[in-house]
């Protein structure tokens, strides 16, 4: 049966066909839809959102130890969070096959960095596969489980944004029901005290040798001979880009199994072609091996070291120019930066705090990172998931060493990010007693990645009701005595809460509780937030004096007309009333939608 599938849907299909029993992940672009699609096979696979990537991978490792085929998926930076268990499970090996999908982001479409996670396979000494399109994504996912069990290794399946989010035709097959293997206690394999781990270390090296042999023999790595003047070595999405540029005018060494690399095949290929181009995004991972084997090649000296190597980029690097194209005056084109939506509950908070002086605002990862931008300018830095509180704590401790203290620190993060790793950081604040203010922007869902449930939302991945972890109670249980829960659309409440927190000589937490405007309301939301987002505001054009105070709330529903010097509100208004509270002439009123 043929289906049009994205790479992410194809990986999910591959997991289903491979007989996977357990899957877990934390959402992160471009990996999110892998677990969401695995969850659609709910009669066969138990799929669970984890609070973070480390927890997801550990749960998947446990499922593998217990004998089930299991899969974890995450974005590239998620693997940093999950690296600790990965490196140890690389030593013990598996019971049921275990695959970790890393979704990398050349070009950083939606990420804070561009790290090349192929290095993790080398670093952890495990097998790695790199599909080029959706069909390969499905086939290689299945094969990864075979390799995992045969060679007793976790397998890294490395994909990139374009593979994840491109659709192609996939031939689907039936599920291969794989029985759960019997778990037999074996501490020499699974209990990594040094006396065991030293023996396992030797096994890892033997395994690498066996995998190297496999890499040279498998048809996942193959040569396509054409003219031998130019030889292309590529893996993953880059293979399709190279084909687009060179077609049948070059020979190809197409690499699908990329750790360990197939030295013998590389030698055979490089010795028979006149010029070698290694086309790979991010790091010179293949290129370095080619050079180690003693062959010269064109790699990062010719192709950009960052960004995507799409056909136009390759063309420009090799031939000095792109295809002929139409051009126009790009200066006329106004940027279209992402913005907080009309009705976004983060607006009231950032509008208010952005006007304050002498605050260091320690940010985090989510839609609310947009609080850094105009008109709010209300964030100083963001590092990684959960770092707002811990990095904020460190900054606050240093400010407190100075007399007078130059500023106070406010850490800002979302509900899902708080559950991710913010909780640990808050324990640090309590334990070491810094005078840090933490604001948890609780919009009742994981927003940025497209509305995934989380421990505070009350529902599982499959939409089943579950226990709600109460953020306020959790914060108090972490030892924070000073906690306030407010509605962020009430600007006075935000001002008062900030005044209150700044007056304290101990750590405090402000929880702003209001749902994401795009959230599909649960029955509980409908009751708690009754009537929200169903109204509109309008501006009395006679009363408007054109002061643009409402425009400075940064709402995309408000438009300032330069000719009439008046503001007006568009149809996308949902009546959050933030603008209404800032108008000095009370020219903004509520109307029923």
């Amino acid at each position: 049966m043929k289906k049009l599938l994205t790479g992410n849907e194809a990986i999910a299909r591959g997991a289903y066909e491979a007989g996977v029993k357990y899957a877990s992940a934390y959402p992160g672009t471009p990996s999110t839809e892998i677990l969401e699609n695995i969850a659609t096979y709910q009669d066969d696979i138990l799929a669970e959102w984890a609070p973070n990537e480390k927890v997801a991978l550990e749960a998947v490792i446990g499922a593998s130890v217990a004998g089930a085929r299991s899969i974890a998926s995450m974005k590239h930076v998620g693997v940093n969070v999950a690296a600790d268990p990965l490196f140890t499970y690389a030593y013990t090996g598996v019971n049921g096959g275990m695959v970790l999908v890393t979704a990398d982001e050349p070009g950083q479409h939606s990420s804070q960095n561009e790290q090349d996670n192929r290095n993790y396979a080398k670093f952890a000494k495990i097998a790695m596969l790199e599909p080029t399109d959706s069909q390969e994504a499905k086939d290689m996912t299945k094969l990864a489980f075979e390799i995992s069990e045969k060679y007793d290794t976790p397998v890294l399946l490395r994909v990139t944004t374009r593979v994840c989010h491109s659709k192609a035709i996939v031939e689907c097959e039936d599920r291969n029901e794989v029985e759960i293997k019997t778990y037999v206690k074996n501490t020499k394999k699974y209990l990594t005290v040094p006396m065991h781990a030293r023996i396992l270390r030797l096994k890892v090296e033997e395994r690498l040798q066996a995998l190297k042999k496999f890499s040279n023999e498998t048809n996942l790595n193959y040569i396509e001979w054409n003219d031998t003047k130019i030889g292309i070595i590529a893996s993953g999405g880059c293979c399709s880009y190279a084909k687009e540029v060179f077609g049948n005018t070059a020979s190809y060494l197409k690499l699908g199994f990329t750790h360990p690399l197939p030295d013998e095949k590389i030698k055979e290929f490089c010795s028979k072609v006149e010029k070698v181009y290694v086309i790979e995004e991010n790091d010179p991972y293949i290129e370095e091996q080619v050079r180690i084997l003693g062959f010269n090649c064109f790699g990062k000296d010719l192709f950009p070291f960052c960004g995507e190597l799409t056909p136009d980029v390759i063309r420009k690097a090799v031939f000095g120019k792109e295809n002929p194209a139409l051009d126009c005056d790009q200066d006329k084109v106004v940027p279209r930066p992402p913005t907080l939506c009309a009705g976004c509950p983060h607006r009231g908070f950032f509008y208010t705090i952005g006007k304050r002086k002498n605050l260091l605002i320690s940010g985090d990862i989510g839609c609310y990172t947009l609080g850094f931008a105009e008109p709010y300018n209300a964030m100083d830095y963001n590092i990684c998931m959960g770092a707002s509180i811990s990095a904020g704590h460190g900054a606050q401790q240093v400010f407190a060493m100075q007399n007078p203290a130059p500023m106070r620190t406010v850490a800002v993060l979302g509900d899902s990010t708080f559950f991710h790793t913010g909780v640990n950081s808050l324990l640090h604040v309590t334990y070491n007693g810094s005078n840090t203010i933490t604001v948890i922007l609780d919009n009742r869902i994981t927003g940025m990645t497209g509305h995934q449930e989380n421990p505070g939302s009350g529902y599982t991945l499959q939409g089943k009701p579950t226990k709600v972890v109460d953020i306020e109670k959790l914060v108090r249980a972490c030892g924070i005595d000073q906690v306030k829960v407010i509605n962020p659309n009430d600007l006075k409440a935000v001002e008062d809460a900030l005044d209150w927190a700044l007056s304290l000589d101990e750590p405090s937490v402000i929880i702003t509780r209001w749902p994401c405007v795009l959230k599909k309301f649960s029955p509980e939301d409908k009751e708690e937030f009754k009537g929200s987002f169903t109204t509109r505001c309008k501006i009395d054009q006679d009363a408007c004096i054109g002061c643009t105070k409402c425009v400075k709330t940064g709402c995309p529903a408000i438009y300032f007309d330069k000719a009439s010097k008046k503001s007006s509100i568009g149809l996308d208004c949902v009546g959050c009333e933030v603008c209404l509270q800032v108008c000095p002439k009370l020219a903004i009123q509520k109307e029923e939608a």
Partner: protein, 189 residues
């Protein structure tokens, strides 16, 4: 022979559904098809694109600079932003629809004038007022399906059983409206 269709617009305009229907139809007609989209930050009011490629055998899912046979822009200014991805021999379908980005809303920049004229001076351009037509047939939300209709006509894909594709992929209560929108779109090119 591979053909490339570039659909561009602003997050939330329905380019994804339009390209989903388009690719499904192309697959059922027996073509090899690939499509690329970028999700994530762009959903928050940013510029979005869906890149559709079809033929006997398609390699890359992305359209390169100077690679598109047709540029279909759901929003005027986005057509200018993406124009360099069109082949010099390619054509443009542009929705006469304006969405102001944040720097324009705040009064910092002006929305560019003369976009339609500029496009027409560069490539054969069809201007469609999809918002007006969509409202006329009863729902402003089917703007994307009207534009899909223009693509089908412009690329000569009328023989594909679009009625079936829409019936299979759209909620029952919206099938009739969507078919109406599609037929209307096809009549505009």
């Amino acid at each position: 022979m591979v053909k490339s269709i570039l659909l561009v617009g602003v997050g939330g305009q329905g380019t994804i559904l339009a390209s989903k229907l388009l690719t499904t139809g192309l697959m059922e007609a027996g073509y090899d098809v690939k499509m690329s989209e970028i999700h994530g930050m762009s959903q928050r009011g940013g510029s979005v694109s869906s890149q559709v490629r079809y033929g006997d055998k398609v390699e890359a899912s992305v359209i390169e600079v100077g690679g598109a046979d047709i540029l279909v822009s759901f929003e005027k200014m986005e057509a200018l932003r993406w124009l360099k991805y069109l082949k010099p021999s390619g054509k443009v379908v542009v929705n006469d629809y304006q969405i102001n980005s944040m720097p324009i809303l705040s009064g910092k920049f002006d929305y560019p004038s003369g976009i339609l004229e500029e496009l027409a001076s560069k490539a054969p351009t069809t201007v469609v007022d999809a918002a007006k037509h969509a409202t006329e047939i009863g729902n402003p939300k089917v703007m994307n399906i009207i534009l899909l209709g223009t693509i089908i006509k412009a690329m000569g894909l009328q023989d594909i059983d679009w009625k079936k594709i829409i019936s299979d992929n759209v909620k029952v209560e919206f099938v009739e409206l969507n078919l109406k929108a599609l037929t209307l779109g096809m009549s505009l090119v």
